[in-house]
Each structure stands twice: as structure tokens, then as C-alpha cells.
């Protein structure tokens, strides 16, 4: 938890530049303050961080390896490495954050966790950590998503969680967050809200980034072992931005170029403007009157109209750069990585892959050393991809 020039702690209001903050109903303010205090104390407590690291090691399979993607590198004319969050328990980086927050829940003496989920990755991860630690767990999920991702609903139920279909608004992720916040108001006493990305009110964006920064710190050391002192480019997909923030954290104060890749249909940096939603001031997709727009992406995990406030800030100051990838480009990238490297990435991750494939020789000079954060595995998406390829062919 070193003090960085870039990606250090936000100010006491949770501001990253003009972004972040804590835009919550007064009823939740004490819980946010309590959480901030608890997090700051825990994160400075070697006993806590050791426990966090132990659970990640013993239970979640950390450290995940860095894999040199040799065949794809040769084809592209760059040196490409993948940080393998797909190998973490439950299949993505989401577990890192969730283990940190559930441990914190126990430390705060709370007995119950609520969470929102879109496709179900964060929900499954939360249900998993709660089962492992013996916490009660309720997951809010848009009704449409519960239908699209019925298997993930069943997975959460197997893990002992209660899944509540959210029938308000667009009945997807954005509304699941609204509903989780509404519910949190009624049970802050004994319940922690385990937010799934670097978003929401302070201290969530900072806390989740810190709990994901293990990705970047591991990767930096592992690349070093592979002879790469500093990569030229670090690339990650961005939904809320937690995997990106996690990997960026390991390289923020190096010369590495940091690149976040959004879905074209959920491109808060590309198409958004500053706004306030879900407890934070950040970049949001919204209409002329400030009504939040529906995101649409082929990948449920990037289907969010906002972005974490720290990313908005990093974009603002030019420390990180954000690009958008269209649905059409994603499937091809998933196929290329599967075929040449034997890794079927999540559709979310495939956005980052697609950007690399597209930009070699342009944004990525030939010969560059590139680190791809392979945020998750594609098993969850295989049925969908199959349908889509059938549709095409």
C-alpha cells in the first residue's frame, strides 16, 4: 500500500480530481463513513492484509500466472503477456475484491452481505465468498438478467445466496445497483453492501481498487521475472473499471501507457459526460436532461452506462487512455485468442484483446511489450457466442 504519485488515495471526501465523492442519501452516509474508517484501519493492519492475502492464496488460487502469449506475439510482431485472472476461483478477478470486502464485513461485525450483479459474475463471486465465510448473502439482479443468465442464478442459489429479481426501471444492472442501495438503507445495521467494481460512493472506488491492485503488483513482479522491467502498454477492459484499476495500480508510476477498453455501447469516457449516479460523480452516458441512458453491450459485464470515478480522473489528466470496441470486433478477438493460445476469454476481456489486434502498428508500435489483463474466462459466454456465430453463418 505504497504512496503513489498516480493512483494514490483520494482526498478525504473521496475525490479523484473533480470525480468521486459520496452522493448518497443521508441514511447511508453513516454506513459509508463507518466503512471508510473500517477499511482504512483494516488496510493498515498487517493481520488483516495477511489474512486477505492468505485467503486469496489458499482459496482463490493467487498468484495467478503471467502467461507469455508466444504464438500471438509472433503473429503480431509484439511481445504480448497475459495476466491470468481467468484462473482465479469463480473465473475472474471479481473474487479479489469480494474476498477483501467479506473479510471486512466480518471485521465490522456484520453478518450479512448484499450485492448487485449484471451477468452474475460478481454475484457468484460474492455468494462464493459468503459461503466460504459463513455470511448470509442476498444478490440483486435485474429481472431480464435473471432470465438471460438463469444458470448463474442457480449457481448463486447453490452457493446459498438469495437472488432477488429487480423489476424496476430497465430491469438490468443499473437498476440492480439502485435496488441494492435502496435495500441497504433498510439494513445498514447488520449488512454490508459489497459493490462489485470501482464505483459507487467513497470509499468503494478506492477500496475496490486497492483490493484489486494485487493484480498489478503481482504482474509487475512476474513480468520482471520474465525479463520485462516495464511494459510499454498495459491494456484492460473497462465496465465499472475494477480489473483495469487493479492492473493499472501496478504500473501507474512507470512509463507504461495505460489503456482501458470500453464497449462501444457502454462507453462512458467516449460518449459520456460528467454526472452523478450511484453515489459518485463520474462520466456517464446520459441524455440532454441528465437522464441516464441504457448501456448496451454484447458482454453483460461491460453493460454499464458509467465508469469508476478514478478512471474519469485518469482520462481527464491523460494518465490513462480509453478506447471503445464494437460488438462486431469482439467475437473475432475471442476466436483469435482461443485458436492461437488455447485460452477462451470472457467477452468482456475480448474487448481488450480486440483493441490489441486492431491497434498493433498504430497505437501499439511493433515490438512493444504489452500486458493484457485477462480479466476472466469465457466459459460463461460460450453458449452466447455459439448462438451468435450460428446467426452469422
Amino acid at each position: 500500500m505504497t504512496e503513489n504519485e498516480f493512483m494514490s488515495a483520494p482526498n478525504e471526501l473521496g475525490h479523484f480530481g473533480s470525480f468521486g465523492g459520496r452522493f448518497v442519501p443521508e441514511a447511508l452516509m453513516p454506513a459509508c463513513l463507518e466503512l471508510e474508517t473500517a477499511f482504512v484501519e483494516a488496510w493498515a493492519d498487517p493481520t488483516f492484509t495477511a489474512q486477505y492475502q492468505r485467503v486469496l492464496r489458499e482459496f482463490a488460487g493467487r498468484p495467478t500466472p503471467v502467461t507469455p502469449l508466444r504464438r500471438l506475439s509472433a503473429q503480431l510482431g509484439i511481445e504480448l503477456y497475459a495476466k491470468r485472472e481467468d484462473l482465479a476461483h469463480t473465473g475472474s478477478h471479481k473474487i479479489n475484491n469480494v474476498i477483501g470486502q467479506t473479510l471486512l464485513t466480518k471485521r465490522m461485525g456484520k453478518r450479512r452481505v448484499i450485492a448487485e450483479t449484471g451477468a452474475g459474475q460478481h454475484g457468484v463471486a460474492t455468494a462464493t465468498a459468503c459461503a466460504q465465510m459463513g455470511l448470509e448473502c442476498t444478490v440483486y439482479m435485474g429481472e431480464i438478467d435473471t432470465e438471460r443468465q438463469a444458470l448463474n442464478v442457480f449457481r448463486m442459489e447453490l452457493l446459498g445466496a438469495t437472488v432477488v429479481p429487480v423489476t424496476s426501471g430497465s430491469r438490468t444492472l443499473k437498476d440492480a445497483v439502485n435496488e441494492a442501495m435502496r435495500e441497504w438503507v433498510t439494513c445498514v445495521e447488520d449488512t454490508h453492501y459489497c459493490l462489485g467494481s470501482v464505483m459507487g460512493p467513497h470509499p468503494f472506488p478506492w477500496m475496490v481498487r486497492e483490493m484489486q491492485s494485487i493484480i498489478g503488483h503481482e504482474a509487475a513482479a512476474q513480468l520482471n521475472d520474465l525479463g520485462v522491467t516495464t511494459p510499454d502498454v498495459v491494456v484492460a477492459c473497462v465496465g465499472g473499471g475494477s480489473n483495469a484499476a487493479g492492473v493499472f495500480a501496478g504500473f501507474a508510476n512507470t512509463t507504461a501507457r495505460l489503456v482501458g477498453v470500453e464497449a462501444a455501447g457502454g462507453s462512458a469516457v467516449g460518449k459520456g459526460s460528467p454526472g452523478v449516479l450511484h453515489g459518485m460523480r463520474s462520466l456517464l452516458m446520459q441524455d440532454e436532461f441528465g437522464q441516464i441512458e441504457e448501456a448496451y453491450s454484447i458482454s453483460a459485464g461491460l453493460d454499464y452506462p458509467g465508469i469508476g470515478p478514478e478512471h474519469a480522473y485518469l482520462a481527464d489528466i491523460g494518465r490513462a487512455h480509453y478506447f471503445a470496441i464494437s460488438d462486431e470486433e469482439v467475437i473475432g478477438a475471442l476466436e483469435v485468442l482461443s485458436l492461437t493460445e488455447g485460452i477462451i476469454p470472457a467477452l468482456e476481456t475480448a474487448h481488450a484483446v480486440a483493441w490489441i489486434l486492431k491497434e498493433v502498428g498504430r497505437e501499439i508500435p511493433l515490438g512493444s511489450k504489452v500486458l493484457l489483463n485477462l480479466s476472466g474466462r469465457g466459459d460463461k459466454d460460450v453458449a452466447q457466442v455459439r448462438e451468435m456465430l450460428r446467426g452469422q453463418g
Binding site: 442519501p25 459526460s273 452523478v276 460523480r281
Partner: protein
């Protein structure tokens, strides 16, 4: 002191408990008639909900009404235009989420409220710490920024909130979003804690759905805010005179 606060303090001095009904702007084409009806029935001020796509503090009833209003194309400009037809002279208080004002531009938004005859604003997701810009804009345009105190708010925060709130202090009766209600809630205790720090009028709201609940709340506080039960009636197709009747029952209960 803003005009609204002056008015409400005088109301209290007169010994009258304040009744503040809430309606969602734009929920029907003739939503203005509900405002007129409520004013007729003895409302002391009326909260006008400006619909937002993601109403984090609202329960299903108000969510549904907001959605209808948005589908009908409601926005700050259309509300302002609609309000120009209002004949009743009753203080109006805007209630919405911060992004609506933030996106409109806080200065411009406060001006718009003023020019629409709105003299107060409740923005539940804008806490004390983040409000400076908005509060300043409101001050310029004689719009009272009304803050909430929740049952969970610690005492030191109550003091800071009551010293910043204008018009009245909104005492949240329960840890819940709008619309939920079974018991009387903790409004009385919240009001007590407010009074230990300030003499600002303290109104109780959130989950007040029956005249008898309103009666109890008015015993503890200086006024009551009644929302979801009215909005539900509107959603169910109530006429303006039916709404007038409902508001009158609340009026009777607290007088």
C-alpha cells in the same frame, strides 16, 4: 433567511402544523390539477418530484410514476412551462436527484426553479459535503436547500445538517426509501435530535401513508410530508377532486 423558511417559520408561530403533499411532475398530462387540488385542500407547501431515471431513494410507487412521467417527455423545462399555468398560491418545493441539476448546470437550474416559482429544493443524494456549489446557486436564487436527517445520522452530523438546511429540516421517519410503511417509524426521535441542535422547523416524512400516522407525526414534528399514498392514487387514476378529498383527510388529521 430564504423566503420559504420565513414563511414556514411564520406558519409554525401561528400554531399550524404544516402539511406537505408530494406529486410527481408530468405523471399525467394534467398533473397541475393535483397541485391545485392539494392547495385547495389545505396544503401548506407542495413537493414537486422532478422525475429521474434512477431514483435511488424512492420505492416502487414513485419509481413507477417517474417512469411514466419520463416516458411522457417530462423535463425541467416542460415542468417549468406547466407550472406557469398554476393559479394556486402555495410554496413549491422541488424534489429530485442531483444529476438533474448537475447536468442542467447548477446555476442555470436554480434560476429555472426560481423563475418557475419554486422556492425550495430537496436533493436526497446530495449530502452536505458535496453540496457547496448547489447551495450557493440556490442562495443566489432564493431557493431553500432542504437537507435530511436520518435515524442513523450521528449527533455531530445532525448539528452540521441543521445548521445548513434551509426552509425546514426533513426528518426521515425510517431507514427506508419512500413508500414503505407499517409502523409509526422513528420520526419523533429524529425530530427530538434535530431540536437539540436547532430551532429550524422539522418535518417528518418517508412512509407516512395514513391520516392517523400523519396525526402522530404532527404531534412530534412541525409538519408532515405525504407522498407515495397520493402518488399511488394518481397512478390508479384518481381525479383531482379525489386527491383533494385525500389531502383534506390528512389536513383534518393534523389540525
Amino acid at each position: 433567511m430564504t423566503s420559504l423558511e420565513k414563511y414556514l417559520r411564520e406558519l409554525r408561530s401561528s400554531g399550524r402544523k404544516a402539511l406537505v403533499p408530494y406529486f410527481v411532475a408530468g405523471v399525467t398530462p394534467d398533473w397541475i390539477t393535483y397541485i391545485e387540488a392539494a392547495a385547495h385542500a389545505g396544503a401548506d407547501a407542495i413537493e414537486i418530484g422532478i422525475p429521474f431515471s434512477d431514483p435511488m431513494m424512492d420505492g416502487v410507487v414513485i419509481q413507477e410514476a417517474a417512469l411514466r412521467a419520463l416516458d411522457a417527455g417530462t423535463n425541467l423545462d416542460s415542468i417549468s412551462a406547466d407550472l406557469s399555468a398554476l393559479t394556486a398560491s402555495v410554496p413549491l418545493i422541488a424534489m429530485t436527484y442531483y444529476n438533474i441539476f448537475h447536468h442542467y448546470g447548477v446555476e442555470r437550474a436554480a434560476g429555472k426553479l426560481q423563475s418557475s416559482g419554486i422556492t425550495g429544493a430537496i436533493v436526497p443524494d446530495l449530502p452536505l459535503e458535496e453540496g457547496a456549489e448547489w447551495f450557493a446557486a440556490c442562495a443566489t436564487h432564493d431557493v431553500a436547500s432542504i437537507l435530511l436527517v436520518a435515524p442513523s445520522t450521528p449527533n455531530d452530523r445532525v448539528a452540521r445538517i441543521t445548521s445548513a438546511t434551509q426552509g425546514f429540516c426533513y426528518a426521515s421517519a425510517r431507514m427506508a426509501v419512500t413508500g414503505r410503511s407499517s409502523d409509526g417509524g422513528e420520526g419523533g426521535r429524529v425530530v427530538e435530535r434535530i431540536r437539540q441542535t436547532s430551532d429550524i422547523p422539522a418535518y417528518i416524512g418517508i412512509g407516512i401513508t395514513s391520516p392517523s400516522q400523519a396525526h402522530d407525526a404532527s404531534m412530534a414534528g412541525d409538519g408532515v410530508i405525504v407522498g407515495s399514498v397520493l402518488v399511488q392514487a394518481v397512478l390508479d387514476g384518481a381525479s383531482a377532486s379525489e386527491i383533494e378529498l385525500m389531502v383534506r383527510q390528512f389536513r383534518l388529521a393534523i389540525d
